[in-house]
């Protein structure tokens, strides 16, 4: 391992009332950890918890409720994370009916988002096919996860943007019913929200552009290795301003701000008629193209898997280069891949300082690489030899 690049490792994990675990304590070594068990026994729940600490949401479900054990009102995920030569304790309590509470080294932080960046992890799972085939919101969520792991500060900007967007949409909706005489009053208030929308939106768009510019070559080269006979994969940023006349020439904040204000101005009547905000990063798209055809709708099943894998591994490389080598999590994916993709993924696993691999059977794991075998049966985790 290169000494200059620190890497992350989960040394201990505690789950309380999380999914099907009432009280689980695990200690992990570095290297490759295989978690094997039949479906429904709880192997994915372990990696889901690790992933949650890195992104503050599950890679499987949109809400936190299913994560809390049935008939309980809260769940705890706690981990000891090693970063370079430092150990850090991080934990989060998930609550029903009230806000979640997070702590770093047992000290409560005012907002859960402040633990972002403590543990960085990249999860590749069957659900990732949705990044390729799903709605634009899936691709925005993918970008957001990488952006907040690289720059935790952005999660605050995103929260503010969402809040402003809600306020502005509420105002547009109420203005729709207002009579012409009231329009002047409405537009005076609207311009106040415009200003905040543009401020936070510009920051997000510039950050997304930078992320895509940095990510694109890493994803493209990974894709070329996994699928050498396919057309080249390219990523580009299709921001909502570029679909209107006011496309910013560069992503210089001042240029974006100007184009954003102009776009709002152009769309004003349409926005009032429809009662929603029509420009801004909430309508961005990450465009994925193979050769000249869009991936969505044109790529085969195998190609779609390769694109999803390339996006995740490219993100892994980006975080490794910019921050610290993240923890790699492969949830039930080897079984889905053909020989070439399995081999490529195995090579990456071999290089990873710490990787978690879940599978139903031993054959779906790169057996020679595994240093630690965990067997999961009805929420009981036991360590065993190969």
């Amino acid at each position: 391992m290169d000494e200059a690049v620190p890497h992350l490792q989960v040394r201990q994990l505690t789950l309380q009332n999380f999914r099907n675990y009432d009280d689980l304590h695990l200690t992990f070594p570095g290297g490759v950890i295989a978690i094997v068990g039949s479906n429904g026994q709880g192997k994915t729940n372990i990696v889901e918890a690790i992933g949650y600490l890195s992104t503050l949401h599950s890679h499987r479900v949109a809400s936190d409720i299913p994560l809390i054990r049935h008939d309980h009102t809260s769940a705890v995920i706690a981990a000891e994370v090693i970063r370079g030569d430092r150990a850090l304790m991080v934990d989060i309590q998930l609550n029903t009916g009230r806000a979640n509470q997070a702590r770093i080294n047992k000290v409560a932080v005012p907002r859960t988002r402040e633990i972002l960046g403590v543990l960085t992890a990249i999860t590749f799972a069957p659900e990732d096919l949705a990044i390729v085939r799903g709605d634009p919101s899936e691709r925005r969520a993918f970008l957001n996860d990488i952006a907040t792991q690289q720059f935790p500060r952005l999660s605050g900007v995103m929260a503010d943007y969402d809040r402003v967007l809600k306020q502005r949409n509420a105002l547009l909706k109420s203005a729709g019913g207002a009579r012409r005489s009231n329009l002047e009053a409405v537009s005076a208030t609207l311009s106040v929200w415009d200003e905040q929308l543009v401020e936070f939106g510009t920051e997000l768009m510039c950050a997304r552009n930078e992320l895509i510019v940095n990510l694109a070559p890493l994803v493209a080269s990974t894709y070329a290795e996994i699928a050498p006979h396919s057309e080249p994969l390219s990523l580009s940023y299709d921001d909502s301003l570029s679909r209107s006349e006011e496309r910013p020439v560069t992503y210089d904040p001042d240029a974006v701000r100007k184009a954003f204000f102009q776009a709002l101005d152009t769309k004003r009547q349409q926005e009032l008629d429809r009662g929603i905000t029509l420009v801004g990063p909430h309508r961005d798209e990450l465009r994925l193209t193979l050769g000249r055809a869009p991936v969505k709708g044109y790529a085969s099943h195998g190609e779609s898997w390769s694109v999803a894998l390339a996006l995740r591994l490219g993100s892994y490389d980006l975080l490794a280069r910019e921050r610290a080598t993240p923890v790699l999590i492969l949830d039930d994916v080897f079984a889905e891949l053909d020989t070439r993709r399995r081999r490529h993924l195995a090579e990456r696993v071999a290089d990873a300082p710490q990787a978690f691999i879940t599978a139903a059977v031993d054959e779906d794991v790169p057996v020679d690489l595994v240093g630690c075998w965990l067997e999961v049966d009805k929420a009981e985790v036991t360590q065993r030899d190969r």
């Binding site: 306020q167 509420a170 208030t189 106040v192």
Partner: protein, 198 residues
């Protein structure tokens, strides 16, 4: 589970802000064991507050008279006006002892989600107060959150054409705090609002 009037009391107490079911129960049992005269005094005070406290016709602050104590006080600087969201904010600023002008309570902040626009706040009253030219400086002291900022921006745009001095409270680092523990937003604002040291 409790029955009858005791259950009613616990329910009523539970409706109050910041009081959960456990606290409601604790307060109810405290009242049950308290001296009769103490309970009567509390009950009477509640009724009296309801009857006597109203809002100052001039500034909108809570008051027992038509015009509140601060608006009546002749020692107050009539040329300065501080605009706040709630009466609670008046108390907070009064505690500092730094400000000698008068107040204007808006009754909230602009928040379209909650159906609150400038028309629902005491903005029209504010513009009327400013029309006679006696007030020369307006300090906008709305909360430093998204809604408070939006309200401040709205007011600043409405007031600037009147030729008054309009200022916004500085937001920055807490006194006695450590730089390294400040969040980025606070620290960023403190940078933006830095001042020259002579």
């Amino acid at each position: 589970m409790y029955e009858g009037v005791l259950a009613d009391l616990i329910d009523e107490l539970g409706q109050l802000p910041g009081i959960g079911p456990k606290s409601a129960q604790r307060i109810a049992f405290y009242l049950l064991q308290a001296e009769e005269e103490d309970v009567k005094r509390l009950a009477n005070t509640l009724l009296e507050v309801q009857e006597r406290v109203k809002f100052c016709e001039q500034c909108g602050n809570v008051s027992e008279e038509d015009i509140c104590r601060i608006c009546r006080d002749p020692r107050r600087d009539p040329s300065m006006l501080c605009v706040v969201e709630e009466s609670r904010d008046v108390i907070a600023i009064e505690r500092t002892g730094e400000y000698r002008g008068r107040y204007h309570v808006l009754g909230g902040a602009i928040s379209p989600i909650d159906g609150i626009g400038p028309e629902q706040l005491r903005v029209r009253e504010l513009m009327q107060r400013l029309s006679d030219g006696a007030i020369e400086e307006v300090i906008i002291a709305t909360d430093p959150n998204l809604e408070g900022e939006a309200t401040a921006t709205y007011l600043a745009r409405a007031l600037n054409p009147l030729g008054l001095t309009v200022s916004r409270l500085a937001s920055g680092l807490p006194v006695g705090g450590d730089l390294e523990y400040a969040d980025e937003v606070t620290l960023g604002r403190a940078f933006a609002g830095r001042r020259r040291v002579d």
